[in-house]
Amino acid sequence: MNEKLNLMKEFTKGIVSENPIFVMLLGMCPALAVTATLETSLGMGLLVIFVLTLSNVLISSVRKFIPENVTIPAFIVVIATFVTIVRMLTQAYAPALFDALGIYIPLIVVNCIILGRATAFASKNKVLPSLIDGLGMAIGFTLAISLIGILREIFGTGAIAYGVYLPLGIQGSILNIDSPLFNIAILTGPAGGFLILAVLLAFFNSRKIKKAEKLKAERKRLAKEKRAAKAKEVTA
């Protein structure tokens, strides 16, 4: 029971408390570069889920055989292998996504999240927790960049298109809002990436600050009550 709870914790920490983008600030390049639309963000997310989960599993299962002085090169080779595989699969089965993501597919190799999880977690833990950790982190990454992608696409174009980059079999778009507020072209460009990420980070920061203030106030109140109780005792 306890173990199950732990695994659940390993999974959710990547999504919430240790979210790679919004909390750890890792993997910023793809979070800015491929998030002009929801579909490209989701596509990149799927590739990262594939690479991160498999590299975590493989590294964790061979962690005892890899000599300490060559861990990093060995990890890089493992990660690069999975990236190459995923690159070829994308080029074959989702050519539109391959063209849209361009050099950012090979750049998954140097995504700090993946090497980071390999050294910080997979090389020290058993296979199952490593799998859960990789999956959680990758899903957290995917959700985060998809959020950026949704905001950029809605405010930039007023609609969410589907079937353009992912091979869904159908094509179209939803929402289709016709309003100048939802047609801010710069949001689909480079500046929009920086801007939306800034707004989201500030939003999460403000929530963190509020939470911390609440906690502080709560603690203060408790301490005050304790003191009052003590004082009462003394007088009694």
Binding site: M28, A80, R87, P190
Partner: protein, 201 residues
């Protein structure tokens, strides 16, 4: 082969297609290191250094080894290994040659292996197909020049940004926007300014 090709290559990779502001390569060091001008410059010199050498080596590797053997699909692995060993090599050489330089650059070098700017520029150079456009050797020099320009562009933005950030630290920024968020807003404004440079092309 006129000199304008090289001037254009430098200007376009430095300003018009600036790797940080238009391609988001090297954003991590941009946000992480750049709060002190001195640090930013140390990082930039190391990046330019490795970027130029890595571009030269990978260009030759790709067109003289991988492409003739028809194994260009392993290019990503090959490139990242080349970059990793290059960084090691450069670190050793600098350590031997100049203790002072090593003190200055040494701490940044290990960070560079996973700096996506290097692998990014290398991949971009290969994708650009300079060998087809300018011929094998002219293409080589254009690739190296482009890498140098990209490195200069990286340095320029890091320098400009660290100068702005020194002032930002004394600016009354709302609590939740302090640090990274406000830096990203500055980056967004800089990126907007760089859109204007696109008109030069």
């Amino acid at each position: 082969m006129s000199a304008t090709v090289f001037v254009t290559a430098i200007l376009s990779s430095m300003l018009i297609n600036n790797i940080i502001l238009t391609r988001f390569l090297g954003v991590c060091p941009f946000l992480g290191v750049s709060n002190r001008i001195e640090k930013a410059m140390g990082m930039s010199v190391a990046v330019i250094f490795v970027m130029v050498i890595a571009s030269a080596v990978t260009y030759l590797l790709y067109y003289y080894v991988l492409a003739p053997l028809e194994i260009s699909y392993i290019s990503t692995i090959a490139f990242i290994l080349i970059i990793a060993s290059l960084v090691q090599l450069v670190e050793m050489v600098i350590k031997k040659v100049s203790k002072k330089l090593y003190k200055g650059l040494g701490i940044y070098l290990p960070l560079i292996t996973t700096n996506c700017a290097i692998l990014g520029v290398v991949e971009l150079n290969i994708n650009a197909g300079f060998n087809a456009e300018y011929g094998m050797w002219n293409g080589f020099f254009v690739a190296v020049t482009t890498a140098f320009g990209a490195g200069l562009g990286f340095a320029l933005i890091l320098f400009a940004f660290s100068s702005i950030r020194e002032r930002l630290e004394h600016a009354p920024v709302p609590e939740s926007w302090k640090g990274i968020p406000v830096s990203l807003v500055v980056a967004a404004i800089m990126a907007l300014a760089f859109i204007g440079l696109g008109g030069i092309a």
